[in-house]
């Protein structure tokens, strides 16, 4: 047995134990990327590094063995900075999008690619479910959204951007997805203003189980949405949308001017979403946090800063609601840190790589005109044009998750020319995107362990080193039965399941089926 200290915690472990294992025994958490228990270990990523206090050296805990009397620092600021540096270097050579540019540019962060995929499959109901995760007024936005997503769409130079807005509209109109609040929180929130921000805030609060009452000084619900012309959006759309909200439990007080400072006495929280033309209250608003100088009172939408885009108002309503929920739960709900890898414009030669996953058609114009929108069939073929730019491992990618935790900055070392993206497929099973690879070599080892006939190999050395199929054979023959294990072990989205993480979908379908029963 060997005794050592990790973060000043004394542990005694068997001789051949790794520092990582010893840390686990001591209850100290160390992140890993290139480590995978069932194959020979070759530390390379250095994300699991700890500092040997006696020598001052940073050592990879996943491979370094314990030594008698070792004194290990696994969590100081210096160690954290070191890991962050390792992550930032890896990220500078990791060419890929975690989230598709459309989703990043959407103020409401709607999962557009996922919606597109479901539409392509003809599953409009689950597509609507995805939309409603982020968007309170899908029908309305299906007409009036200025669609910044389409401006960012990678498909743009290849026959035009995917017609996202109109796809969202058909999903909202034809998808069947009834919202059902999760368990009641028994807390009451007042929302002042029934424009896009106010409705959005109220919607998200209701979905989370809060009771919600909307105060509107006008006689109609909708705020600025009432000013939209008939040629842009038929009036009944707003009515239908409001009906949905009432069904969810939204209570409206029309013709009622409300004062947040007074309302807070009767409600657990108040959200001010009165738009830009309404009378400003005496509240001081902190735009970044959606809070005000009065605890419990929040603000969102054009009341902060005049917004031209309805979708921005909808997004801000959601954020204000989120801020209120954090407050109502006693600040227990903390904001998860976010990381998104991105690489800028596609190169001309990458178009073909991306088109491997799509159809070579131009942007669809609805045969029946703008107001009527897409038919079912049109929607399905338009959705198939989506290039699947989002990563298939956006949830489970360990590089992404650690980058979020360590707040790594991808741009820090992002100079020099970026590598050209390629995509390889094992038919409907696996996708390999070498430019996302961090060269841990796990797939090589796993393939060897599984006696895969061809396997994978390191090709070249140094910065130009890549992991490829030997003799330039097709990916089809490389991993064969080892594919699933490789996908699971791969710490990034370099090797991913062809079906992506849509395995979270069965759960959604389940909920949906329950709803329709």
């Amino acid at each position: 047995m060997v005794s050592l200290r990790i973060n000043n915690i004394e542990v005694e472990v068997p001789d051949v134990t790794t520092v990582l294992k010893a840390a686990q025994i001591a209850g100290v958490d160390i992140p890993t990327l290139c480590f995978y228990e069932s194959v020979p270990n070759h530390a390379s990523c250095m994300v699991c590094a700890v500092k040997n206090k006696q020598t001052g050296a940073f050592i990879p805990s996943c491979e370094a063995k314990v030594q008698e009397g070792m004194d290990i620092d696994a969590s100081s600021q210096e160690v954290i900075e070191f890991r962050k540096d390792a992550l930032e270097l890896l990220l500078s050579d990791h060419v890929g999008d975690c989230e598709a540019p459309c989703r990043i540019s959407c103020p409401a962060f709607m999962d557009i690619p996922q919606m597109n995929r479901l539409i392509a499959k003809g599953d409009f109901s689950n597509a609507l479910k995805i939309v409603k995760e982020e968007i309170a007024l899908p029908m309305v936005l299906g007409y009036v959204c200025s669609a910044p997503c389409e401006a960012a769409c990678r498909r743009k130079p290849m026959g035009g951007a995917v017609s996202v807005c109109m796809l969202k509209r058909i999903v909202a109109l034809e998808g069947m997805s009834e919202d059902k609040p999760i368990e009641k929180k028994n807390k009451k929130v007042a929302v002042i203003g029934s424009g896009p921000a106010g409705l959005s805030a109220a919607y998200h609060l209701l979905k989370e189980g809060y009771d919600c009452e909307v105060f509107e000084k006008q006689s109609h619900v909708g705020g600025t949405l009432l000013t939209v012309s008939e040629s842009q959006m038929p009036a009944q759309i707003l009515t239908a949308e409001v009906e949905q909200l009432v069904k969810l439990g939204m209570v409206f007080h029309l013709n009622q001017e409300a004062n947040p400072v007074l309302l807070i006495k009767d409600f657990d929280a108040v959200i001010v979403a009165v738009g830009e033309n309404s009378i400003k209250t005496s509240l001081q608003i902190q735009p970044e946090t959606y809070t005000t100088n009065t605890p419990g009172i929040f603000a969102g939408g054009s009341v902060i800063k005049p917004l031209k885009m309805a979708v921005k108002a909808v997004a801000q309503g959601k954020e204000a609601a989120r801020a209120a929920m954090i407050y109502l739960q006693g600040n227990l709900l903390t904001e998860k840190s976010f990381f998104n890898s991105k690489f800028g414009k596609l190169k001309e030669e990458e178009h073909t790589e991306y088109l491997k996953e799509s159809v070579d058609e131009n942007r669809m114009e609805p045969a029946r005109g703008f107001i009527a929108g897409f038919t079912h069939e049109e929607a399905i073929s338009e959705a198939k044009r989506c290039l699947r730019c989002d990563c298939r491992k956006s949830q489970t990618c360990r590089l992404r998750n650690l980058s979020a935790i360590y707040q790594a900055d991808q741009k820090k070392y992002n100079y020099g020319e970026r590598k050209t993206i390629r995509k390889y497929f094992q038919h409907e099973i696996l996708v390999y995107e070498p430019e996302k690879c961090i060269k841990c070599g796990l797939c090589i080892e796993i393939a060897a362990k599984n006696n895969a006939l061809t396997g994978m190999a390191y090709i070249g050395r140094g910065f130009e080193m890549s992991v490829q199929v030997p003799f330039n054979k097709s990916m089809q023959d490389a991993l064969v039965n080892a594919a699933q294990e490789c996908i699971a072990a791969c710490p990034t989205g370099a090797l991913s399941d062809y079906k992506g993480e849509d395995n979270i979908l069965p759960q959604i379908s389940q909920i949906n089926t329950d709803n329709t029963k």
Binding site: H42, F82, S92, Y413, K439, A457, F471
Partner: protein, 782 residues
Amino acid sequence: MTKEMLEIIDNIVAAQGRTVDRVIPILQAIQTVFNYLPEDALARVCETTDISPSQICSVSTFYSQFRHEQVGNHIIHVCVGTACHVKGALLVYDAFRRELKLNDETDTDVDKLFTLNKVACLGCCTIAPVVQIDDITYGNVSSERIPEILADFLQQKNNPGEVSSLGKPANSIVKGEIRIGLGSCCVASGSAGVKEALEKTLNRNNINVNVKQVGCVGICNQVPMMEIQKEGEPPVIYTHIRPEEVRKIIGKHFKPDSFIDELRNRFYNFVENLAIEDVPVATQTFSPEKRDNPVTSFLNGQINIATEHRGEIKPLDYDEYERLGGFSALHKCLFESTPDDVINEVKKSGLRGRGGAGFPTGQKWELVKNVVSDTKYIICNGDEGDPGAFMDRMLLESYPFRIIEGMIIAAYAIGATQGYFYIRAEYKLAVKQISTALEICRKKNLLGKTVLGSSFSFDIFLFEGAGAFVCGEETALIASVEGKRGFPSLRPPYPSESGLWDKPTLINNTETFSMVSWIFRNGADAFNKSGTEKSKGTKVFALAGKIKRGGLIEVPMGTIIRQIVEDIGGGIAGGKLFKAVQIGGPSGGCIPASMADLPIDYESLTSAGAMMGSGGLVVLDETDCMVDIARYFLSFTQDQSCGKCTFCRIGTRKMLEILDRICSGQGKVGDIEALEQLAVKTHQGSLCGLGKSAPNPVLSTLKYYREEYEAHIQGKCPTGKCKEMIRYEIKDDCIGCTKCAQRCPSDAIEARPHELHVIDQEKCIKCDVCKQICPTGSVITI
């Protein structure tokens, strides 16, 4: 695949073996036959051996030696080693690209006649820049001479000179000895031609003299060199000899044996009449007994331990080696000492590893000895990949028996059963000498079962390294012998505990082994008499760069830099100012002229930000840009990084990107700080010596020459070395000879006879040809 090819591959496999560790020798054998590695051949190897497609592809793309594309009939190797770099190797390389009309995609010309290749170091640093086309080496090459060199090569190929088979006449009295150095450097400078001319002359004139091919003479800057030893006469050294001059030199010292042949008689008279008058102009002659000539100054201050009997012994003459005391140390160890005695003596000598880090040798031996195991290995690390270093090569070529003896002694001390020489495959002559020497040793029972009748059995095999600088790192070297990519592994466990095939393994550098026998013959105290307190004995350096006299030198530890540069090296050539020495190559650093009184030993070099490294010592003058030097080394290390660890793989690349930016005038404020931080992180975050020391050239130049970096950020390269930051112009004193216009490869100069010529800056590609060719020195860089 053709039937012939199939047969060749199967024969190679049958000869080399089928286990996974045979992959590198198999690949080398295939490349020897086909000049590259045809994919079909590799697939066939996988079918018939334990080697998997993954392994063969991984390994064959890791090592620089292997080519996957067909090449031209002739291969041009442009040496880009440090000494060549500072003398303009990249301009030479670019000039070849232009001359052969190569586009960015290919290195082979349209006619498939030539393939152009950069090589890390040909080890001919003293005649830099060096280019090797097949087996013909050209020294002191300039970009302007490329067409001429290609033409010369083709002419030599088409009209191969008559090779005469020569022998000594029997039954005649030997009149003396002529020693001629035939190390790689010497050969590259034309010694082979001199030797041929010498043999022809002696044969034709029936002069019976011993012609002795000695190894590296060390004085590489004076070669081709010949020493004439004649009884009753003081020895005479001739330097810089040309083949056509040999006849005259010989005539001056020796007379033909017989006068029967009229022709020969006439020749004799001719020689008698002419040669006495003087020695040909280009050749210089010196008496080694007189002081104050380049040769004696060069040799002054040197102590020969690793290079004992330098320039005197014939590398493969076993009897001579024995006569000079060879293998007596082994006898002493085997029959008069216990392994512990041997280790204690080495410890007492204070010998430290000459590979760079300076770990005490005796202690290392003891560590391996103390591990209990039925199998132990010993490896001689001769994987000298450092650009600008050629010590190992010269030692291996010139003193094979000495190194073998050192290895056998070490093997006896630690109880090793098997040994390996790991020598770069590029070192053709070294490989040849060592394998012949090993064969001789086996015959003499110095190797094999029961060595010299003792109870100790031991044998040594030769492994040819396939070109990866990282394999100088002991764990990477072991991986390579095992048939893997040269990925280093985490230490501990150290090889002394778990090395080759997981067995205890002792790895020492070539130079370390070459000092062992001397220590036992002369005693540990004789060895530790020279050197400093912590660094004992001598160190061999490859001295090159901007000095007057370069070569292989062996000096006591603690010798100051100034003494090496000024006394041994003769100071800076061309009247320029001494600026710095780069010590230790890519792992080392630059030490400025202001610190010329620094004694060279492990500790003082490390504290000055450099490193002993393998012992490359490149002298820089005032025209060398220190930022460019840093970039040069970093481009080397980033290219040689194995790619395993994040900080080395990506960190060195990012540092290089910043340096590229700075050297091309694109540097931004903050770049220097970013570079410095990355350098520190790369050092901290790399697991092996390559990555850990890769930032040294950057850090040491930042330490002593930060103002040069700052000048670059402000848009000026103070020395005018950085191509992108300078422009060429023609001064008013241009005589209008039109030479520059005729030779300009990009038509940037219009020919206007007798008028002032002008360079079109838009068209100028900064190839330097005009500057080199201008007879009035009117082309300048700004």
